[in-house]
């Protein structure tokens, strides 16, 4: 059987939009640095989502207009942000009490690898001369109720990021709930990985070929 790919899959914005559609009205959400940040722009009209940034702000708004940046009003990626009406500031221990205590509904993170069982590696390559830097990633995956991963399906070198076992050091074990890639949306379940949706023109077989572990399908 030929492996069919008639389309390049979703682009970054479309991926972000897919994530955004799955965030229910009224959710408290923490968005990781980079690709996850795009999600905020695609929350459907009529839904209210409150963004938490672990450096001490609940009710993070969009980026300020040029010239209105405040170096003391930043997000976890150290970029200038704004605060919505009804926002509040708090210290780091309180902020991570929200995270660790299970008060944040959804966290959207990037990934280096995700395993069949939902293990996540996204903080270190484990190479001897790399500078290890974990930030809040381990706290987020252990504390937030639902973890969404948004990532390209394969690495720049074409290697699968969705694998049987992570080879990079783990951020957390059995923590990922759903993976959004340029090719598909994949649920992590006790029975294995289930493809929930395919990008237009992308076949299940093509996704499988680019995945390091056996996939299941709902359909």
């Amino acid at each position: 059987m030929d492996i069919v790919k008639t389309n390049s899959g979703w682009d970054r914005n479309q991926m972000a939009q897919k994530v955004a559609l799955d965030i229910p009205d009224g959710s408290y959400v923490n968005l990781g640095i980079g690709l996850p940040e795009l999600v905020a722009a695609y929350v459907p009209e009529g839904r209210e989502v409150i963004y938490h940034t672990e450096n001490g702000l609940l009710g993070m708004g969009s980026a300020p207009e040029t010239g209105f940046e405040d170096p003391e009003l930043i997000n976890a990626g150290k970029k200038a942000v704004t605060a919505i009406q009804g926002a509040c500031f708090f210290h780091h221990a309180d902020s991570f009490a929200m995270i660790r205590g299970g008060h944040i509904d959804i966290c959207v993170l990037g990934a280096m690898q995700v395993s069949e069982e939902g293990d996540l590696a996204n903080w270190s390559t484990g190479e001897p001369h790399s500078i290890p830097a974990v930030g809040g990633a381990m706290d987020l995956v252990s504390g937030v109720k639902t973890i969404f991963i948004i990532t390209q399906h394969v690495t720049k070198d074409g290697e699968p990021k969705i694998v049987g076992k992570c080879t990079y050091p783990l951020t957390g074990k059995k923590v990922v709930d759903r993976i959004y890639t340029d090719l598909a949306i994949i649920d992590v379940t006790d029975a294995g990985l289930f493809v929930k949706e395919l990008a237009p023109g992308i076949t299940f077989e093509y996704v499988q070929k680019n995945t390091g572990v056996s996939l299941n399908r709902y359909f």
């Binding site: 009205d25 009224g26 408290y28 009529g46 839904r47 209210e48 409150i50 938490h52 609940l58 009710g59 605060a83 009406q85 009804g86 926002a87 509040c88 500031f89 708090f90 221990a93 309180d94 991570f96 009490a97 929200m98 995270i99 660790r100 205590g101 299970g102 008060h103 944040i104 504390g143």
Partner: protein, 238 residues
């Protein structure tokens, strides 16, 4: 769209059912959500475990809830009051269980419950009867005991002002256990003297961020417990 505002105390406590663990804010009457407690008396849920610093005064508020035989167990630091015989009488008859917890340990166990910390070590109560049966461990030559988090199904909390997102500020020493109880309960029900427009509470001065709050009821003129006690009132009102 988020809107946590409920129209009445009765609506707000409607799903508190038999056997629930309920945290109730307050240090004496300061910060005690008397209207929410009375709504819970009306609701009638039984066999509750109540976590609160005291056991109420007179025959109103928390004392009324106990007198109405809705509380199977109290977790508190100071169940003795000059002006209520409700708890002592039931306790002496063996009809209510008591878990006595030092006040700071109580506050920290509740905070831990809200902060995702299952257990912590503390120096408080080491070598006293309140550490009996608890694990002792030495850190840097000092003995500590292990204490576990307390979580609740519901918290009933009183504050000064709230907005529709659930951001809260309190009044003076009526703040006490409110903020940590909001954190530690699955459903946090708040009575506020006023509900203000979103953005009216200074974001630097918010004490309880809205994420911890589930429901808000506006009670502009809460009853003064001490006044009711002076007047020998009892709830349900006769």
């Amino acid at each position: 769209m988020i809107n946590k505002i409920f129209q009445s105390a009765a609506d707000a406590v409607e799903d508190i059912s038999d056997g629930s663990v309920v945290m109730i804010s307050g240090f004496g009457e300061a910060g005690s959500p008397i209207e929410l407690i009375h709504a819970l008396v009306d609701r009638g849920a039984k066999n509750l475990t109540v976590v609160s610093n005291n056991t109420g005064s007179g025959n109103v508020g928390l004392a009324a809830l106990i007198e109405n035989r809705q509380v199977g167990k109290m977790i508190c630091s100071f169940p003795r009051t000059a002006n209520s015989t409700v708890f002592p009488e039931l306790y002496r008859k063996g009809e209510i269980e008591l878990e006595l917890v030092p006040q700071g340990t109580l506050a920290e166990r509740i905070r831990a419950g809200g902060a995702g910390i299952p257990a912590f070590y503390t120096p408080t109560a080491v070598d006293t009867p309140l550490s009996e049966g608890k694990e002792v461990r030495i850190f840097n030559g000092i003995r500590y005991i292990l204490e576990s988090a307390i979580k609740a199904d519901f918290a009933l909390v009183k504050c000064k002002s709230a907005d529709r997102l659930g951001n809260l500020i309190y009044n003076k020493t009526a703040r006490n256990f409110g903020p940590v109880m909001c954190m530690a309960a699955k459903t946090c029900i708040v009575q506020a003297r006023e509900i203000v427009e979103q953005g009216k509470i200074d974001p630097e001065a918010v004490v309880t961020p809205g994420i911890f709050v589930t429901r808000i009821v506006e009670i502009p003129h809460p009853a003064h417990e001490s006044q009711l006690v002076l007047e020998n009132r009892r709830y349900p009102w006769i």
